[in-house]
Symmetry: C2
Subunit: 323 residues, 2 copies
C-alpha cells in the first residue's frame, strides 16, 4: 500500500518543494493536498499521485470529512498565515488561521482514532528577543513570543505537546527558521529584495536606491529545499512529542544578504530605510542550533546561502516581465 500524505496549505511554496522532494525519492506515494486557494503551480509527477481539494480549514465539517475519508498516514500541516507583518495588521485572523485550524485537525485525528503522524510546524519567531548569551538557541531556550504570529505558534506548540503527551497523538514538532528559496511570495523580505533587484536589472524600474525596513536584524536563513527534507526525515524518524529546530546554524544580517544579492546580480544601489517598513517590535538576532535534529535524524542543511540567493534571483529574473 502506498503511504498517504495529507498536506494542508498545499498551494504554497513549501508544499511545492515538499512534493518535488517526494518525487525525487522515486517511491510511489498518495498525496491529498488541500488549500483555500486553487493550486497555481504545474504538477508533472510520476511517483506522486496527487489529488486536490479546495477548502477553507476553518470549515470544520469539510475538514473532518476529509480526514475521515482519506485517513492519511502522515499529516503535514503547512497551512498558516506565516507573515509576522500581517499578524500585526490582523491579529485575530493570524491567531485563528494558525492555532485554531491546527487544533481542529489534531482534535479530529484524536476523535477518529487515526493512526497518523502529524508534523506541527512552528517558527523561530517563538523565541522572541534572544539575549546574545543564549545564541545559538537550542530547543530548551525560554519562549518570549513578541508578535501575534509568534503567540499563535507558541499556542499551537503547547497544544501539540498536550495532544502528544496526554492523548497519545503521534505529533512531531518543529521550530522552523526563516526559509528562503525560489517561488517564495514577495511578502517575505528576501524574496521582495530579489524581485526588486530583478526589476531594476531588467530596466522595469529605474532607481539608484532600494528602500528597506530595519536591515540590521540578523536571521538564520535555511533553504526551503533543505527544510522539506527535514520535514520528511522528521515524519519518518522524529521522536513523538519532541520539538526540533530547523535552521542553518548561521546568522546573516538582512544588510549582508542584500549586499550579496547585489553582487550576484551585479548592480549597486544605495540603501535607504523606510520607517513604514520597520515593525513594532522586531527581534534583533535569531540564530539556531541544529544539533538536536542532527543527532536524532542525521539531517543537516546542504545548500549554501550563496546558492539559495542565486536561485531566488534566477527565479525572479524568469518571473518579472521583460521590457
Amino acid at each position: 500500500m502506498m503511504k498517504k500524505y495529507l498536506i494542508t496549505g498545499s498551494g504554497g511554496f513549501v508544499a511545492k518543494h515538499f512534493l518535488d522532494y517526494l518525487e525525487s525519492l522515486r517511491v510511489p506515494v498518495s498525496v491529498l493536498g488541500v488549500d483555500i486557494h486553487p493550486i497555481s503551480y504545474p504538477l508533472n509527477y510520476s511517483f506522486v499521485f496527487f489529488s486536490f481539494q479546495q477548502i477553507d480549514l476553518q470549515n470544520k465539517e469539510l475538514t473532518n470529512d476529509i480526514l475521515k475519508e482519506y485517513r492519511p498516514d502522515y499529516l503535514l500541516h503547512l497551512a498558516s498565515f506565516s507573515s509576522v507583518a500581517y499578524s500585526w495588521i490582523n491579529p485575530v485572523a493570524a491567531f485563528v488561521n494558525n492555532s485554531n485550524i491546527f487544533l481542529n485537525l489534531v482534535d479530529q485525528v484524536r476523535l477518529l482514532k487515526l493512526n497518523c503522524r502529524i508534523l506541527s510546524v512552528g517558527s523561530s519567531e517563538e523565541y522572541g528577543n534572544i539575549s546574545e548569551t543564549e545564541l545559538p538557541v537550542t530547543e530548551k531556550c525560554a519562549l518570549r513570543p513578541s508578535s501575534p504570529y509568534a503567540v499563535a505558534r507558541v499556542s499551537q506548540e503547547m497544544l501539540s505537546e498536550i495532544y502528544a503527551k496526554n492523548y497519545g497523538i503521534d505529533i512531531v514538532l518543529t521550530r522552523s527558521f526563516n526559509h528562503i528559496g525560489p517561488g517564495q511570495k514577495e511578502v517575505f523580505v528576501i524574496s521582495s529584495f530579489a524581485k526588486k533587484l530583478a526589476e531594476i536589472k531588467k530596466g522595469l524600474v529605474v532607481t539608484d536606491t532600494i528602500m528597506t525596513g530595519n536591515i540590521s536584524v540578523v536571521r538564520d536563513f535555511v533553504d526551503v529545499r533543505d527544510v522539506v527534507k527535514a520535514y520528511h526525515v522528521l515524519l519518518n524518524k522524529g521522536t513523538k512529542g519532541e520539538i526540533y529546530n530547523i535552521c542553518s546554524g548561521k546568522g546573516n544580517s538582512l544588510r549582508a544578504v542584500l549586499l550579496k544579492m547585489m553582487e550576484i546580480i551585479d548592480i549597486t544601489l544605495n540603501i535607504s530605510t523606510d520607517e513604514l517598513l520597520v515593525r513594532p517590535d522586531d527581534n534583533k538576532i535569531i540564530i539556531g542550533s541544529n544539533l538536536k535534529i542532527y543527532e536524532d535524524t542525521g539531517w543537516r542543511p546542504s545548500i549554501p546561502l550563496e546558492t539559495s540567493l542565486k536561485d531566488i534571483i534566477d527565479y525572479w529574473m524568469d518571473n518579472v516581465p521583460s521590457l
Copy 2:
C-alpha cells in the same frame, strides 16, 4: 458620570460576588452584564445600575456592537470555560471559549480605540507542575501548562501582553488561584464535596463513604469574596501589562479540606478513590506568592479558609432539598 463596567460571564459565581462588592462600596456605577445563559440570581441593588444582554461571545458582530454602543470604562472578562476536567473532554471548545473570545474582545477595543481598562483573568493552572523549590510560585516562574484549559489561559495571557505592550491597550493580568465560596457550581471540587456532605447530613443520601478523585493534590484556596476585591483593586491600581497572582499564599490538600468540612458539618465518612475521577495529568502542588499584588495595591486575602468552608456548607444546606 457613573463609571461603566462591562462584565462578561455575568451570570456566573464570580460576577455575582463582584456585583455584591460594587454594591457594598455605595458608589453608583453602571454595569452591563453579558452571558450566554440567562441570569439566575436575584438582583436587588441600589448602587449598581445593572442591565443585561444574553449573547454568545462567539458571535463577533453582536459582541462588537455591544462594545461600540456601551463604551465601557472597565471590561471585566469573566466568561470562560473554567473547568480543567471539562477541557480534557472538549479541548476545542475550551480553547475557543477562553482564548478566542478574549482575543475578539481586546481586538475590538483596539479597533474602536476605546479608553477602557481590561482585566484579563488567568489561572494558577498556567504554572503546571511546579517543583518544590519554586514554591510559593511568583509571577516570574516558568509556565508549563499541562491541560488544554491551561494552554488556553497561557495563550490568552501572551495575547494580552502583546496588546498591552505593542498596541498600548490598557490591560492588567491575573493568575487567579482556586477560588471557592458560596454559590460555586458543583463541577468544582470543594463545592461538590460540600454538596455531597449536605445531602448526607440532610438524609437525602445514605452512605458511610464519600468517593473522590486524587485528594493528595495541594491547592492554594482563596475565597471568591477576596478575589473580587482583588479584581476591583487591580482595575483601579494595577499596573498596565503586569501579571498578578491572586492567592492566599497557603496550601491545603483536598484531603485536609474534606476532613475540615466533615468536622464543620459534624459527620464522619470513609474516603474512597474513584479512578474515573482522577485526571490525566494533575499538578501535585500549587501554592502562590501574593507579594506582588500586596506591594502594588495593598490587597491581601482577609477570609480564613474555615470561614469559606462554613459558608459553602451553609449555602448547600440551604440549597439541597429537605426530605
